[in-house]
Amino acid sequence: MPKHVIGRTVPRKEGRDKVTGRARYIDDLHFPDMLYGTTVRSPSPRGRIKSISFDEGLPWDEFVIVTAKDVPGMNAVALILLDQPYLADGSVNHREEPVLLLAHHDKYLLEEARRAVHIEIEPLPAVFTLEDSVNRREIIWGEDNVFKSFLVDKGNVDEAWDKADFIVEGEYWTGAQEQLYIENNGCIAIANEAEGVTVWGSMQCPYYVHKALVKLFDLPENKIRVIQVETGGGFGGKEEYPSMIAGHAALLAWKSGKPVKLVYDRAEDMAATTKRHPSKTRHRTAVSRDGKLLAMEIDFVVDGGAYATLSSVVLSRGTIHAAGPYYCENVRIKSCAVATNVPPHGAFRGFGAPQSIFALERHMDKIARTIGLSAEELRRRNFIQEGETTATGQVIRERVEMAKLLERAFELSDYQEKRERFTRENDASRIKRGIGFASFMHGAGFTGSGEEFLRSIVGAEATREGRVRVLAASTEIGQGTNTIFAQIAAEALRLEYEDIDMAQPDTANVPDSGPTVASRTCMIVGKLVESAALGLQQTLVRSGFLKDDYTPDEWRAACAGYIEEFGTLKSYSQYKQPEGTHWDDEKYQGDAYGAFAWAVYVAEVTVDTLTYEARVVDFVALQEVGRVIHPVLAAGQIEGGVAQGIGFTLFENVVWQDGRMHNSQMTNYIIPTSADIPPIRVFFEENHAQQGPAGGAKGIGELPMDGAAPAILNAIENAIGIGVNHVPLMPEALMHVMKEGASARG
């Protein structure tokens, strides 16, 4: 009987290939007679295309040239709305909009050619900021610039203001953030009438690409094949944009009849692909003298960029997380995603939640200060309890112990002792020290009816030798999908981890297990892996080849016997919504998520009053994520997420210039290095969720992105006595607010 595989630190499935350099990423692949592709983009943020001209002196007849008129099917990237063209046709709406594609054997000549194409634009007035869009300075999308709006209305907010002892207001801002996976986006395509379209690429969601290519080429589903190759990080940045690149590579391949590789360089990837939605949140909160939240009114706006893309769902997650892990009888959240003439913003770890949680957790500190309670006591008096309802009216049916998490996080970080000591010592010191925290939750899986709509499928296949292959489109992008799925299948079948193989995500061979997003891979898809694996076992038992209790050798004999007689042994499992789950998409009420992960993060900072540099010097991340499948991978998710959160807070500043990212280089868009990261101390409380696999694992990927920014700014306020309500907080801004001596933006 093998030892338990769950909870054990087994070696990453593809680890050996990664440490030896043998792992093949998209740019490592080469096909005979392959062309290189490139994208010519709009030189203007908004306008009409007047002409396209080509400089003389280049052998243009050698180039494959594709424009909108070459699109065989629908010229729109199929996602939620169909508003974003693959290639601009007549007008452009942002500075990086693809207008024309080129391909050639010689990639150096190709770059020269790209610069020799001139697109003349008759300009139209453009909108670059969220506020200008909300104020309709110019209507640039639809009738009102609004991609989507939501209203969550619980209780009666309007009646609460009169009864309040305090009304506390605040406004909070977050900036754009680049995902900055170290591997740039890229795809290779082969496409022709006879064979259809095949694309290899760096991506999170092969079936998203598949769906988009079906429409782009107007071909039947079985004529489109999408294969994910080793992917060098995603973080949301390879959720939707690969559909664009795959389409471009395929269009060039279709026209040329040759394989085409289209891999972005860093500057193009940073400037043209999606980033985190900038946001603005206004809070107005009614509070009683004893610190109970009586009513919360929240206005949440995100900047979606030029096309709708995923903004409606980013907005949805941000909206639902806006009221945090607190119980309040009366909550009204109004939210909207608006258009601007910048490249579309998109998915990035946390998906709207880091934005709205930043606002709330800064605001909670402000409320505490206003009413004269400690930050922790205010939260303790309002933490949601089992049986209470969230803003959407979801009854929390799992055990939730935020107060206990808070207490343990404070012990682990010496919060109280440090808080007192820093207050004592700071006056005499040039370096001010501070400590702060944030308490929050993150929902796992698609929001509301999303999972029911996806109805994901996972397969498991046994070989004659008794090995089991998991068939899923869920991608390994560094987070450990291959490893945890193998663990889950091994545990379910009482086999060794080494007995399980993972099929490459290839739409010709694996079912659609849904996109690799939304902290859903472990909890939702992992559960399907478990049931698909168990399906193999049931088949063998029911057909008499296996007893209920078996040894690995008996398993292998049973597989051999069954396959000898019936040919193949496969099992599929499809998602079914748990009984008693309800969601109302119209009213935005009901069970928003199958489960939540809960957390308290504590940040300790120093602020140098001479250089205005803020540094995080210690970080405690405590969370309850259900069952931990793989301790090292789980901790790695938290550490990486916190590091990105530190970047979001103190380093990563997208500089916009007329709708274009001005600092699209690693030289001037700075992410934390090994010298910038404090010790990140990760702790888990285990609580076995009802829904997840392996005795109750929940989602983990996005959670750590939510807590760092508010914890750090709460710590900075503790250090310098001034509250700052926007991120990123660069030294220049810190200098400004410290010299002003008042909080920026109110």
Partner: protein, 164 residues
């Protein structure tokens, strides 16, 4: 680079992972491209192309360099080691590689070859680095997945195993 075509290619001889190679290349070709395209050693990755991320790190005459910043003419007669030359054999990994697997130092894996090279380079010069020395030695190699914590642990683990 097309201007380079008007000049003729030069023959450059260098040793890569112990094997002598002569490549015909324009003198300003990047070492990175020659390794990846001419020699098909694709373990060395391009992350930024401007010497910021360290994904293309290799050892050039024992020094840690970004191969995206090295023109090929500069490596005439040089000894180059890439990730493909780090393992002791096909079966036996270098201690640093083992440690990266054990400690979870590789997630998406794209920075890993450069990170492993940087760590090997550190341990060759300083077999017992302290925490600050490890952080400093790896500060030229960006990782977006790990927050570096597991990478530091891997380096420490590799040191300990070497001593044992």
């Amino acid at each position: 680079m097309r201007e380079a075509e008007t000049t003729s290619k030069v023959a450059v001889t260098c040793t890569v992972n112990g094997v002598a190679h002569t490549v015909e290349a324009y003198s300003m070709m990047r070492l990175l491209d020659v390794l990846r395209e001419d020699l098909r050693l694709t373990g060395t990755k391009e992350g930024c192309g401007e010497g910021e991320c360290g994904a293309c790190s290799v050892m050039l005459n024992g020094e840690l360099v970004n191969s995206c910043l090295i023109p090929i003419a500069q490596v005439e007669g040089a000894n180059i080691k890439t990730i493909e030359g780090i393992s002791l054999s096909d079966e036996q990994l270098h201690g640093v590689q083992e440690a990266f697997i054990v400690c979870g130092g590789a997630q998406c894996g794209i920075c890993t070859p450069g990170m492993v090279i940087a760590a090997v380079h550190l341990l060759e010069r300083n077999p017992t680095p302290d925490d600050a020395e490890i952080r400093d030695a790896l500060a030229g190699n960006l990782c977006r997945c790990t927050g570096y914590v597991k990478i530091f642990e891997a380096v420490v683990h590799a040191c300990r195993n070497r001593k044992a």
